[in-house]
Each structure stands twice: as structure tokens, then as C-alpha cells.
């Protein structure tokens, strides 16, 4: 048994012929296993969707309850047999509900990581390394220049700026699903108790997180008529809003953006960001290397991102490694659309 017996790359993405299912297909298919609810991984229109309950809930919230013909929830660690392939979902630490998908057939184990990170995140269970023969990984930040700083340290930089400019509203651009809620939780952990204002695009998803039992303290919908009250406050918004006329209505705002890309100065400058925070929901270079080592795999396949350096490194370690060049996966940390992505917001 080899990886290619279990999974093939097709125009729709990874496909398992034995179990007749796709994983995170980029177009509508009969049966889809979904790692997490980001729009480039979780599209609408599939016949049947298998995912964690949280991911299914988020998909329904974003795409409508009728996003798929039928859905089935699988808890972390629970096993299901599809065509003789044992399937289970395991925490990926990326966003609420995110999972790695483990496939086992005749003692051969293959893991599809989906998107993942290794840093602690108060809003979702931590990544669990799984021993496997083949590890199919993402590589959004697959270059050694990407080293995410401690996210709490970054949040403290935001609070320091708030202290330095108590008159100025601080607009924090953070991806609406996952990053925004993680920033909220970290701000509260850091002891910031003041009300935090939410841009409309962040609200719905944040209440979903609250319904799962997370407490974000006092959060308020931003009332345009009461914009004056945002002096010295943090306003969470989707990153694209930072460049919108919306942002210019604030009085002398500080523009901040939480993303792994903020590590590169040109990205931050391009966006006009004054306070770049390196907070990412993807593994950094060290995170990728550690994870590959911990899985004990013999083969690494890279789905999307900066595959070349990672493949070079893995081969240098005596592993078999290939880029899969899967198309259609974007990267929500660069996401630009304010409106809820409808399924093709991945460019």
C-alpha cells in the first residue's frame, strides 16, 4: 500500500477512490470530507459533507443550511469506515472545528493536515501530531523567513500602542473566521477589559464562537452614530476594511493587521499598516519542520503554499517529498473580500 493507492490528485483536489470521497474539494462533488470551514476548503454544493460538528455549523452559517445535500458530523477521534478505509478527524489547531484527516488501510497510515498551527489558541483544541507513513501538509509559510513571534507578545504591542495613543481608535484587521476570535480571546487574557467594537462582518461568526461556550467579555456592535466613543478603543474588522472608506471615517486611527504576512515589511507597507502584528493561524517554518518530524513520516506531500523550500528541506533529511501543486487553495491571512466569501474567494 502506498499513498497513491489511497489518494489521487484530480482537478477537484485530493480524491480517494476506495472510499469514493474528496478531501476539501475545490468544486462540487458527491462526497466531501472537509478539514475546516475556511471558504477555500469548505465550498457549497456538495452531495454529502463529512466534517466536525463545529465545521458543519460554520459552513451552514456562511453558506446557508442548504449548502450540501446531506451532512454528517464526526467527533475528533471517532472512526468511520468508508470502502474499507478507516477515517478519523483530529485537532489541527487552526480554527474552531479544524481537523486533520487520518486515513488508514491495511496498516498504512496517511494524514491530510488541512491548515494547521502549533501555537496555542484559546479558541480551539491544540494540534495533535499523528504518527503516519505519509503526511500531506500545507506550507502557507514554508520559508525559513517565517518565524511567528509569540502571539501574546504581539497583542501586548497593540496594547502598548493603545497606551501611547489613548486618543486614537485602533482598527485591528483580522480574518473574520478564526483570527478575529483568537485576537479577542488573547486581548482578554492579556487583561484588556474595555469594550471591543466589532465590524459587521465579524459579528455573526463571533456570536457562533460564543454559542460554543467562549466568553469574549464586553463586545459591541459598532454603531456608526456613536463612532466618537471608539477613541482609544479597539475595533475588530476584516483586513479588507482597513483600506475602505469605512476606515477613513474614524478620527486619526491606528491601522493594525494581524497576519503571518506582516512579517514581511513590504506586505505591511503595501496595506498602509502602521502596526503590523505577526499573528498567524498557520504553522511557521519551525512549526512545519517540527510537525513533519513528529509524525515520523517517510513521505511528505505538500498541498499548497511555499512548497519548494519545504520539499528541499525534507529531501535533505532523507524523506521522500513532492509538491502536489493543488490549485484553488488561497490563504485567508491575505483575504481581501469584506463580504462573506461565497466559495471562490480564494484567489
Amino acid at each position: 500500500m502506498r499513498a497513491s493507492d489511497l489518494l489521487a490528485t484530480t482537478p477537484a483536489g485530493l480524491y480517494c477512490a476506495l472510499g469514493d470521497f474528496h478531501i476539501d474539494p475545490t468544486r462540487a462533488v458527491a462526497r466531501a470530507l472537509i478539514t475546516h470551514a475556511h471558504s477555500d476548503h469548505a465550498r457549497r454544493g456538495h452531495g454529502k459533507v463529512l466534517a466536525t460538528a463545529e465545521t458543519l455549523g460554520l459552513m451552514a452559517l456562511r453558506h446557508g443550511a442548504d449548502h450540501a445535500g446531506a451532512t454528517q458530523a464526526l467527533a475528533y477521534g471517532e472512526t468511520l469506515d468508508l470502502g474499507g478505509v478507516q477515517i478519523s478527524f483530529h485537532p489541527a489547531g487552526h480554527v474552531l472545528g479544524s481537523a486533520q484527516i487520518r486515513l488508514e488501510k491495511d496498516g498504512f497510515i496517511l494524514v491530510v493536515s488541512g491548515d494547521y498551527k502549533r501555537e496555542r489558541d484559546p479558541t480551539c483544541p491544540a494540534f495533535e501530531p499523528i504518527r503516519c507513513h505519509t503526511f500531506i501538509t500545507e506550507a502557507t509559510f514554508g520559508l525559513p523567513v517565517f518565524h511567528h513571534r509569540n502571539s501574546m507578545g504581539e497583542i501586548e504591542r497593540l496594547l502598548a500602542s493603545l497606551h501611547l495613543f489613548p486618543e486614537r481608535p485602533h482598527l485591528l484587521g483580522a480574518y473574520a473566521l478564526g483570527k478575529a476570535q483568537r485576537c479577542l480571546a488573547l486581548l482578554r487574557e492579556a487583561g484588556h477589559a474595555a469594550p471591543i467594537f466589532l465590524h459587521g462582518a465579524v459579528e455573526k461568526l463571533t456570536s457562533f464562537y460564543e454559542q460554543t461556550g467562549l466568553d469574549f467579555g464586553r463586545i459591541e456592535k459598532l454603531d456608526p452614530a456613536r463612532r466618537k466613543e471608539t477613541k482609544g478603543a479597539i475595533i475588530l474588522c476584516p483586513p479588507s476594511a482597513l483600506g475602505d472608506p469605512w476606515a477613513r471615517k474614524f478620527d486619526d486611527p491606528v491601522l493594525s493587521f494581524a497576519s503571518g504576512w506582516m512579517r514581511i515589511r513590504a506586505f505591511a507597507r503595501q496595506r498602509g499598516v502602521e502596526l503590523p502584528l505577526v499573528i498567524s493561524d498557520h504553522a511557521d517554518w519551525d512549526g512545519l519542520l517540527t510537525t513533519i518530524s513528529e509524525t515520523g513520516c517517510e513521505q511528505v506531500l505538500v498541498t499548497h503554499g511555499e512548497a519548494e523550500a519545504l520539499v528541499h528541506w525534507a529531501r535533505g533529511r532523507g524523506l521522500s517529498a513532492e509538491p502536489l501543486h493543488l490549485l484553488g487553495y488561497g490563504d485567508e491571512e491575505k483575504e481581501d473580500s469584506t463580504s462573506e466569501p461565497s466559495g471562490d474567494g480564494s484567489a
Binding site: P144, V145, I264, R265, R269, E274, H312
Partner: protein, 563 residues
Amino acid sequence: MKDFTLLLDRLSYEHGRNAKLRILCDFFAHVPDPERGYALAALTGALQFKQAKPGLLRALIATRVDPVLFDLSYDFVGDLSETIALLWPAPPSDTRPGSNHPPLLLSEVIHGLSGGKLDLPGRIAAWLDALDETGRWALLKLVTGALRIGVSARLAKTALADYGGRQVDEIETVWHGLAPPYLDLFAWLEGREGRPDAKDPAPFHPAMLAHAIEGQDFTVLKPEDFRAEWKWDGIRIQVVIGQDDHGARVTRLYTRTGEEIAHTFPDLCAALDLIPCDRFALDGELLILRAGRVQPFSVLQQRLNRKVVSAKLLIDFPAHIRAYDLLSEAGEDLRPLPFQERRTRLETFVSKAQSDRLDLSPEIPFTTFEDLAAARANPASHGAGEDAEAIEGVMLKQEQSIYVPGRPKGLWYKWKRDPFTIDAVLMYAQRGHGKRSSLYSDYTFGVWRGDPQAREGEAQLVPVGKAYFGFTDEELRQLDHYVRAHTVNRYGPVRVIDHGRDEEGAVKGLVLEIAFEGLNRSSRHKSGLAMRFPRISRIRWDKPAAEADRIEALEGLLRGKVG
């Protein structure tokens, strides 16, 4: 390094000029000497050390990082210093400076850099080990001499002026005499000590500049308030003579932007050193005189173009100064005196100097502006004689005007000769035809809409015409060379010549003096006007693009129909 690092980091993300000034002021207020002074030196480009070449840095990083991973990373990040700063592996924590080592200071780095080239790579590596990633970035920007954080020397000086409640020209005045880490400068700005006596015995005096006169000005200005003289077609030069601490004579020649060029005019300096006055500063025009006759600008240009000053060059192109203002004499600052008093002092000075390389720019007697127009139209018969060819027009100077740095309103005017000339910026070039088909000889030029000096502004070049003659074959070769070296884009046969801004916001580009016979309104042209018979009368290699003319100058011509 910590404060300096934070400063560079914050400035690099800041777009607004005012916010940058605030950050700089805050830095000067909170960072102690000498660190703030060295940071100021770094920002103003005043540090003298052998810069680390990219090759050295690449070799350094190759000792720490897999070259394939480095190449992929550099390719992605695009900036060498930033890539290395991000990739440089942190040394094991027990060797990191912490409780045992005081943090690395900017002054240590600067001393280390100026201490000869001995083991520069080793030193840089040790510093990189001692710093965090932002610190490494700041260090590498510093050692490569390319800060590129959008702060010009002028902006840093403006921040100093803000900090000390001074005018920026006051800073410029003392600046040439100061050296890092500027302890005396900060002491003065903070009111702890008096103004630093320019340690430079022969400092630059920021130049006073003239406005182009426009049609409506003649209805407002009173001729009796003004004195007139010829506008010579040379380059503006400031002679400053002083004495150093040991009593030795110091001779400086400054261009109007304060660039020191004495070393290229040893003949002139030798002559100036014979003048029996230890300390003085005068303002005048640098010209080439042969047998007492002023040569056209193209002759001066030939001397300016030579890199090597040979004995033959000195004989063939004898340099000369035609003086028109005296700024200081024997330690007395004359700039606060009215122009007419300075003129009297200048006349006495020049006659006492008895130098064959220095003479007086003669005045033009006139009663009405009509008189002056007649002189301007025919300088030869109005006193200029055979020098008439080297006259670009006339200057009008208000009798009571003190010498004000910059371009103050209402005091000095230039009234150029017909044909009209404007200074424009080269925007596009195309190949010529026939004999010239191998050379870029068709030039499109433009002038400014908006104020290019305002770094925040939306100043834009508007094309106003095309010229394909007026230059010598030698100049054509130079222009062709310039075009090839400064092409930033191509549209079919058209090359776009660099006229954007550099990282500090300064405008790049080549200034061409365009002569033309007249101007008409035109709806076919974007600029709304069309030039008659435009040609290149001069290539202004010396003139910053931001000082090219503005569209208002042409619109003024249209309204006033001067001449």
C-alpha cells in the same frame, strides 16, 4: 541600538509627514546623547564609514543558512537586509547578551564601523548575534548605508527645528560646522548652551533664490524699488573663505544646493587665496572667460563634464567668478543688511581684491520697466557688449531686501530673455530618423502640476512638448546614454525615462532647459497649451528635477504674454 531600531521600525511603517516629524521629535526628546546624535547622523547620511557590500552580507549568511533556502527566501522577500535579518539564526540562549552583557549601543556599532576594515564580517556577525530580528534589520540597513525609510536629511532637520522651536534654515546654517554626535547642537536646541559656533570655518550659507517674473507683476511692482543686473548663463556659486583653528586659510566653493566643489576648480581657488581678506562669503556666477570674454554655457558645461582636472583643462577653460552679493566680510554677517548696502560693500570688496578671476556683475541703469525691457531685448547695446551671448536675461532685486534663504516672495525676480525658456523634466524618448535612427533623439518633456517640493503632495509632471534639436552631437550622445541608463518602461518605440520619486520622496529625473518662440492654448494637449518651436537650449545636469518649472509659469506666460 534598541532606540534606533524602534525609530527606524516605526518610521518605516509611517506614511504621513507630520507623523514622521512627531516620531522624530519624540525620539530626540527621549533618547540620550550620544545615541540620538548618531541616529541623526545615520538619518542625514552624515556618517563616514566603509559600507558593507551586498557580497559581504551574502557570504556571511552563507555561513549560517542553507544557500538554497536563502535563495528561495531572498527571492520571496526581495530585500537583502530584511531577508538576512529574518533568516539569521539566534545563537543559543546562553551566549546571547542578557544579564551579563549590556545591550549593544548604536555608538558602539558606529565606532566599530569607522575603525578600519579589519574583520568587518566578524564584527557584523557578532552584532547580528547580539540583536533580535528587528535590530538585525536596522543594523543591516545601517551598515549597507541604505536606510530607505522615507526620511530625507531635510525632514530630519525639520524635526530638529520643531524640537528646538527653531526655523529649519537656522539648522541648515549651523549644520555644515557640526559633526556627529551633535552634542552642541542638542545643547543649543534645548537652551542649555548658545548656538554652536560653526566649527566649519567656511560654512555654506543657504542661498536666496528668485521668482520668475510674470505679466501681472509689472502692474504691482514699482521700478524705483528695484535694482537690476544681468542674469548670467553660468552656474550659481558661493565662495566662502575662512580660517581653521590653526590659522590656515580654508577655501570653499559651494553650488546653490550646498555641494562643495572646490576640488574641481584649483585654478579659481588659487586666485581666491590671493585676496587679502581672511574671512568672507560672496555669491556670484561661475563662468568661463577667455580673453576677458564670457563664454556661452556650453563651454562651461564642457569643463563641468570632465572628471579629471588636467593642466590643459585649466588653461583651456579658465574659471571666473562674477560677483553679485557679499554675505559676510571679516566675521561680519552682512545678510541682515539691505541689498543696496551689501552692493556698496561688494563693490568696495571687489575693487580691493584686485583679482583677475573675480569681477563685479554690473548693474543696469533703468527708470521704467520699458527701459529694462529694452536692455533685456538687446544686452549688447546696453552695456553687455560682447558678453551679450552669455546673458540669459535680467535680475530684479528689491533694494531693501535682506538676504533671505530660500525663495521669498516679492524680493528677487528673474526676467529671462526671449525666446522664452522653461526648465522641464525629460519624460519620454524615441529614436530619431535617418542618420539619427540609432540614437534616442526625440524627447518629450513636462513641467509640474502641483508643488514637487511638498513631499506629501500629488505633484505630477504634465507633458508640454517635444523637442528634437538644439543640442550638439556630443550632447546628443550624452542624452542617448542617459536615456538608455534611465529607462523604466517601454511602450512600443517609446521609452519612459525615470521621473518618479526615490524612496525618500525626492524627485528623480533630468532637467532640460527648453527654449521656445511662443505659447498657444490648445485643447489637443493634456496641458492645455502648445509650444511654438521648442528646442533644447541646455541640459541641466546640475538641477534637481523638483526645481523644474511648474505649469503655472507657462500659464502665467499665456496670461501676461510677457515681452
